[in-house]
C-alpha cells in the first residue's frame, strides 16, 4: 500500500507530492459516501417527499395563506435584522481591528457567544426579560406593547442569534488590510466620515456582503430561539421554520416538506452566492504580510 523507499539507494524517481492513487481513490470514495449519506440524501428527500403527491399539492401547500404569511414574516425579520447587524458588525470591526485597547480579547470572545449558547436559551432570555415577570416587561404589558409572542420578539431573538456574522467576517479582513491606507488619507487631510466612506468601506465591500449573506441565511433558518419567543400563533407569529414544524406535527408530511423546500431552495441560493463571493473576498485580503 505505501511506497517503499530503499534507504540506501538514492531515490531514482521524482519524489511524489501526494498520496498514492490507491489511497486517493479510497479516501475519495469514503468522502463521497459520507456526502451521499449525510448531505445529499436529506436534500433529495426533501424534494422527493414534497413532490410525492404531485405538483398540484406542492404548489397548494406553498400558496396557502398561512404559509405565505409565514414567508412574509420570515423575510420581514431578515430585512430588519440583517441591516441592523451589518451596522453593528462594521462598527465593532472598526473599533476592534483599527485600534488597540484593553479588554479587546474579551470583547472578541463575546462574538463567539451565539455559537456556544443553545438557541432555546437565546429565546428564553428574552421571554424572561420582556415577559411580565420583570418590571420592564410588566411596564410594556401595561402599555399594551407586545414584544414577546409577537413579531418584535422574533426580531430581537433573531438579532441575538445572528449578531456576530458580519463582525466575524470583517475583523480579520480589516486587520489584514492594516491601518496604513487610513493613515495616508489622514495625512492628506481627510476627515472621519470621508475617510471611512472613500477608503475603508470600499475596501471591505466584499467582506460585508459575505457576512450579510451568512447573516441572512441564519436569520431565515433560525428555529429554536424563535420557537420559544413566538407563541406559535398561526398566521401571525409563525416563521417558515415554525410552520414546517407545525405541519409536521399534524402529520401533514407532504405539506411540511413542501414548505421546507422553500427553505432548502434558499439554502442552495445561499451556498451559491457564498461560493461566488469567496473569490472576491480572497482578493481583498492583504497578502503582503
Amino acid at each position: 500500500m505505501q511506497q517503499r523507499q530503499n534507504h540506501t539507494a538514492a531515490p531514482s524517481r521524482t519524489l511524489s507530492k501526494n498520496d498514492p492513487p490507491a489511497i486517493q481513490a479510497l479516501l475519495i470514495a469514503l468522502t463521497l459516501l459520507f456526502f451521499a449519506g449525510f448531505i445529499f440524501m436529506p436534500l433529495a428527500l426533501v424534494f422527493s417527499q414534497a413532490l410525492s403527491k404531485g405538483w398540484q399539492l406542492y404548489l397548494d401547500a406553498i400558496r396557502e395563506p398561512v404559509a405565505l404569511e409565514a414567508v412574509k414574516l420570515t423575510l420581514l425579520t431578515a430585512a430588519i435584522v440583517v441591516p441592523i447587524n451589518a451596522v453593528f458588525g462594521v462598527t465593532a470591526a472598526w473599533a476592534i481591528a483599527k485600534f488597540s485597547f484593553k479588554g479587546k480579547t474579551l470583547l472578541v470572545s463575546l462574538l463567539d457567544l451565539p455559537f456556544a449558547v443553545s438557541p432555546v436559551i437565546a429565546g428564553l432570555i428574552f421571554v424572561l426579560l420582556l415577559g411580565s415577570r420583570t418590571p420592564f416587561g410588566s411596564w410594556l404589558g401595561d402599555h399594551g406593547i407586545k414584544i414577546i409572542f409577537a413579531t418584535p420578539g422574533i426580531v430581537i431573538a433573531t438579532l441575538f442569534v445572528t449578531f456576530p456574522f458580519v463582525a466575524r467576517e470583517l475583523i480579520p479582513l480589516m486587520e489584514s488590510q492594516g491601518r496604513e491606507e487610513e493613515e495616508a488619507a489622514i495625512t492628506l487631510g481627510a476627515g472621519g466620515w470621508r475617510l471611512f466612506r472613500m477608503i475603508t468601506l470600499p475596501n471591505i465591500g466584499w467582506g460585508l456582503m459575505y457576512g450579510m449573506v451568512l447573516c441572512t441565511a441564519r436569520s431565515i433558518g433560525e428555529f429554536g430561539a424563535v420557537s420559544v419567543v413566538s407563541g406559535h400563533i398561526r398566521g401571525m407569529t409563525n416563521t417558515v421554520p415554525l410552520h414546517v414544524e407545525i405541519l409536521y406535527s399534524e402529520y401533514n408530511y407532504t405539506a411540511s416538506f413542501a414548505v421546507a423546500s422553500i427553505l432548502v431552495f434558499l439554502a442552495l441560493v445561499t451556498i451559491g452566492v457564498k461560493t461566488a463571493l469567496e473569490h472576491r473576498l480572497e482578493g481583498s485580503h492583504n497578502t503582503r504580510h
Binding site: E183, T187, L188, G189, G191
Partner: protein, 356 residues
C-alpha cells in the same frame, strides 16, 4: 518650512523609543534619520507627522507649535514604507485624493485638479498610468505614485518612512538617485528614515544618527563618515576593522610596531581601547615602509569593483580586512599565501569600554 523638535520623549510599555530628542531641520534641507531597527527613527517621523503623539516635548513647524495639531491639519506629506496607496482608487484618483478632500472653500476646480495631478504624474514619469490601479503596478512605480500623491497638496514638509526598503536592490538605487534629483528641483524640506547607511550617505544633506532613542551624531555625510563621534557611528556607517588594544600616553598599542593614534587622548593612564580602521584605508604593498606590519593573505574575495583581502598579522587578535582596487590587485599580482606589508594610517581610537 523649518522644523524644530524639542525635547521629545516617547515611551512604549517596556522600552523608551525616544529619549529627550532635540533636532533642527532648515527649510529645504534633505535630512536622513539613520539608525538600526528599533532605534526610534520611525517613531520620531510619525510624531512629526502627527501619526503618533509624544509623551513630552514639542514639534515646531515654521515657528508654529504643532504638537497638538491633528494630523490632517499639519499639511505634511507622508510616504509610507509599503506605499499605502488606496487600492480601490486608480492612480489618478490616488494622487488627486488630497485635493478632492479639501473643504469646499479651498478646493480647486476640477480642471485645476486635473492639471495638477497630470503635472505631478509627469514629474514622476507615470503619466501613462493614470487609469491603472495600484495592483497593476510594480513596487517602484507604486512608490513614485505615493510620492506624487504626497506632493499633490503642496506640503511644506515631506516625510518618507524607509521609502525604498521594500524594493529590489536595483530599483532602490534608481529611485534613490531620482529622489535626489527631485529634491534638487522642488526643494521641499524633507526628512527620510532609513537603516541603510549607503542610502543616507548618498542622498542626504545632513545625517542624524540615532541609536536606542538618542542622537549619536549629526552632520554632513562627509563629517559623519570621516569624523565619527563614537564607536557606534563609526561601525554603523561603513565596513570597519575593530582591534582591541591598550591606550597609553595617547598611543594605542597593538600589533608591532605601534600605529600612531590620530586623536590624542587626555590622561596618561593605560586604558583598554578599540582601534577602528576602514578596509579601504588600509594600504597594501610588497615593500616594507616604516611603520608597516607584515601580514599573510589568507583569503581573496572578488566582489564587483573592489577586492577584499583577508590578512593575518602577528599581534592582531582578529583577521584584518582590506579593500583594494582591482588595479592594485593586478599590479601587485597578489595570491593567497603571499606575504605583504600592511599600512595602518587612518586609525581612529575610542578609549574605554565600548559596545558595538
Amino acid at each position: 518650512m523649518s522644523i524644530e523638535i524639542r525635547n521629545v520623549t516617547k515611551r512604549f510599555p517596556g522600552y523608551t523609543a525616544l529619549d529627550n530628542i532635540s533636532l533642527s531641520v532648515a527649510t529645504g534641507e534633505l535630512v536622513a534619520l539613520l539608525g538600526p531597527s528599533g532605534c526610534g527613527k520611525t517613531t520620531l517621523l510619525r510624531i512629526i507627522a502627527g501619526l503618533e503623539t509624544a509623551d513630552t516635548g514639542s514639534i515646531i513647524l515654521e515657528n508654529r507649535d504643532t504638537t497638538h495639531l491633528p494630523a490632517r491639519s499639519k499639511n505634511i506629506g507622508f510616504v509610507f514604507q509599503h506605499y499605502a496607496l488606496f487600492r480601490r482608487l486608480n492612480v489618478f484618483d490616488n494622487v488627486a485624493f488630497g485635493l478632492t478632500v479639501k473643504p469646499a472653500s479651498e478646493r480647486p476646480s476640477k480642471q485645476e485638479i486635473r492639471d495638477r495631478v497630470m503635472h505631478l504624474l509627469k514629474l514622476v514619469q507615470m503619466d501613462w498610468a493614470a487609469k491603472r490601479y495600484p495592483s497593476q503596478l510594480s513596487g517602484g512605480q507604486r512608490q513614485r505614485i505615493a510620492l506624487a500623491r504626497a506632493l499633490a497638496v503642496n506640503p511644506k514638509v515631506l516625510l518618507l518612512d524607509e521609502p525604498f526598503s521594500a524594493l529590489d536592490a536595483k530599483v532602490r538605487l534608481e529611485l534613490r538617485r531620482w529622489l535626489r534629483k527631485l529634491h534638487d528641483e522642488i526643494h521641499v524640506t524633507s526628512i527620510f528614515v532609513t537603516h541603510d547607511q549607503e542610502e543616507a550617505l548618498e542622498l542626504a544633506d545632513r545625517i542624524v544618527v540615532i541609536n536606542k532613542g538618542k542622537i549619536e551624531q549629526q552632520g554632513t555625510p562627509q563629517e559623519v563618515y570621516d569624523h565619527p563621534a563614537n564607536a557606534f557611528v563609526y561601525n554603523f556607517l561603513g565596513n570597519v576593522n575593530v582591534f582591541h588594544g591598550r591606550v597609553k600616553n595617547g598611543k594605542v598599542v597593538l600589533g608591532q610596531p605601534q600605529p600612531e593614534a590620530h586623536r590624542k587622548l587626555n590622561g596618561h593612564e593605560e586604558k583598554t581601547g578599540q582601534a577602528f580602521i576602514r578596509p579601504h584605508d588600509i594600504g597594501i604593498s610588497r615593500i616594507r615602509n616604516g611603520n608597516d606590519h607584515p601580514g599573510i593573505i589568507r583569503d581573496i574575495r572578488l566582489s564587483g569593483s573592489q577586492i577584499t583581502l583577508e590578512l593575518e598579522s602577528a599581534g592582531f587578535d582578529t583577521p584584518i580586512e582590506a579593500e583594494i582596487s582591482r588595479e592594485t590587485w593586478r599590479n601587485l599580482e597578489l595570491t593567497k599565501g603571499d606575504q605583504v606589508f600592511i599600512t595602518l594610517d587612518k586609525v581612529k581610537v575610542f578609549a574605554g569600554d565600548f559596545e558595538i
